[in-house]
Amino acid sequence: MKITALLVLKCHPIPDGSDPVILANATDVSHFGYFQRVTVRQFIVFVGRTVAKRTPPDQRHSVQHEEYKVHSYNRNGLCVVGFMDDHYPVRSAFSVLNQVLDEYQKKHGDSWKGIQADKADQWPYLNDALSRFQDPAQADKLLKIQRELDETKIILHKTIDSVLERGEKLDSLVEKSSDLSAASQMFYKQAKKSNQCCTIL
């Protein structure tokens, strides 16, 4: 379950032929061979641009590309594209995109609307997000909550098992203590008997 790349692009509000402009880019190509990394990066840029171009405004799209899924979310012309593998849950993917989008809008406000050429500088938040959201639970609160709830349920099951054992032990203790009290009663009676009757011996 990993994210390979996150891209933020500016799309033209009317889906005409103009290519979207890249505003921020973060890729993790470490698992490719050293010589293929550059090509891979270029291809990611290209596919991201094309997918963003085809995404109509205020729509979410997912495209299957070999063993990767490309998710895109276009909101008012600001488009976020993510390259994730098949195991990454789709919902978490979109919540990642949502978060990145919100963060970008918070940081840059509306300044992105004026940008016409690809920005080459890095946006550290995006890199940080890429590394953080490799685990989908980080991005998707629902998933996190579900996971924690499942763990809690397992713990509770174990607790109930141990409580049942405790119950059994308490049962045996009850029996033993009742035996003890019967025996001590017999002991008392015997002592009383041997005290009273025979004065000699």
């Binding site: 293929q36 495209v63 789709v90 629902l142 099951h157 002991f187």
Partner: protein
């Protein structure tokens, strides 16, 4: 009376014959005074203004009665159909749902009811105009108003029944939906998959590129699993992608929302289960607390017994130890007696 006879069977309108006979009779008994009761007045009205057509009182009355009887007949039919619909709606099961029949029946009944409504409104207008224009006895007016009211009430009753049947049917449908979701919770994820499966169908249907879809998807076996491709090859494939995406727009939004809703449901049910587990835990612990109390009582009992026994034994010990002194004394006395005895004998 006309209504009752008209519901079950058709009736023959012999008013014309009656009026012609009356004419003949009148002509034959020319001087006979015309009695002032409703029937002959009707005849007179009918005979004198027969040429005027249905504007006459008799024809009016029969017209009114005809219409009323038709409406009553229609209402009766509609209520029969309603009963059938109610039976159908009651016996809907999860699997063989006679939806088509029910829909048909519903539409038919709706049309009937609207037509009957219009007819009753018409009838009421006719009745009012009749009351205003002509000078008839109060009995006839009350009779016609009562008839109209009766028909209206029956129609209202039929509409209410119809509404009840419809609500029952929607409730049944909801129950079946719930049951279906309960038993087949996995298939609710199906909406996500058909969109993955629909892509090949969509590709085939919107083939606007020359290259075929499979090489795009299953090219992993041919080329290396990495990205190095030429731009020219990817161009037509991405055109297909555009058409795919357009076809999948709405379903994807829906599936996204649906998956979120489903996740929320899951979370909610998990929390519910957790609550139940906690309750069970609390019950078990309280039961075991009672066990602990019993153990405690038993141990206290034992302690008391053992302490009592210990006291007894201490007393016994004291008794035994003091008894020895006594015994020594007794022996002394015995020895003294023996000495005296020996003295006496020897």
């Amino acid at each position: 009376m006309n209504l009752k006879s008209a519901q079950g069977s058709s009736y023959r309108d012999r008013t014309q014959e009656f009026s012609s006979i009356a004419e003949r009779l009148r002509k034959s008994l020319n001087g006979t005074p015309v009695a002032n009761n409703g029937g002959i007045r009707v005849i007179g009205g009918g005979g004198s203004s027969k040429a005027n057509g249905p504007r006459s009182k008799a024809a009016f009355q029969t017209e009114f009665n005809k219409r009323a009887s038709k409406i009553g007949y229609g209402i009766h039919h509609t209520s029969q159909k309603l009963a059938k619909l109610a039976k159908l709606a009651k016996r809907t099961s999860v699997f063989d749902d006679p939806t088509v029949e029910i829909q048909e029946l519903t539409t038919v009944i709706k049309q009937d009811i609207t037509a009957l409504n219009a007819a009753v409104v018409d009838l009421q207008l006719v009745c009012n105009s009749q009351n205003e224009s002509e000078n008839i006895s109060s009995d006839t007016t009350t009779h016609s108003t009562t008839v109209v009211d009766n028909l209206k009430n029956r129609l209202m009753g039929a509409t209410k029944e119809f509404k009840e049947v419809l609500t029952m049917r929607t409730e049944n449908l909801k129950v079946h939906e719930n049951r279906r979701q309960l038993f087949s919770a996995n298939t609710s994820k199906e909406p996500a998959n058909p969109f993955a499966k629909q892509r090949p169908l969509v590709k085939k249907s919107t083939s606007n590129a020359s290259t075929s879809p499979p090489p795009w998807v299953s090219n992993a076996s041919n080329s290396s699993p990495l990205f190095p491709r030429t731009d020219g090859e990817s161009q037509p494939l991405l055109q297909q992608q555009q058409s795919q995406q357009q076809q999948q727009m709405v379903p994807l939004q829906d599936s996204y929302m649906q998956s979120r809703a489903e996740a929320l449901h899951n979370v909610e049910s998990t929390i519910h289960e957790l609550g139940g587990i906690f309750t069970q835990l609390a019950t078990m612990v309280s039961q075991q607390g009672e066990l602990a109390i019993r153990i405690d009582e038993n141990m206290e009992d034992t302690l008391a017994n053992v302490e009592g026994a210990q006291g007894q034994l201490m007393r016994y010990l004291n008794g035994i130890s003091s008894n020895r002194w006594l015994m020594i004394k007794i022996f002394f006395v015995l020895i003294v007696f023996l000495m005296i005895f020996l003295f006496f004998v020897a």
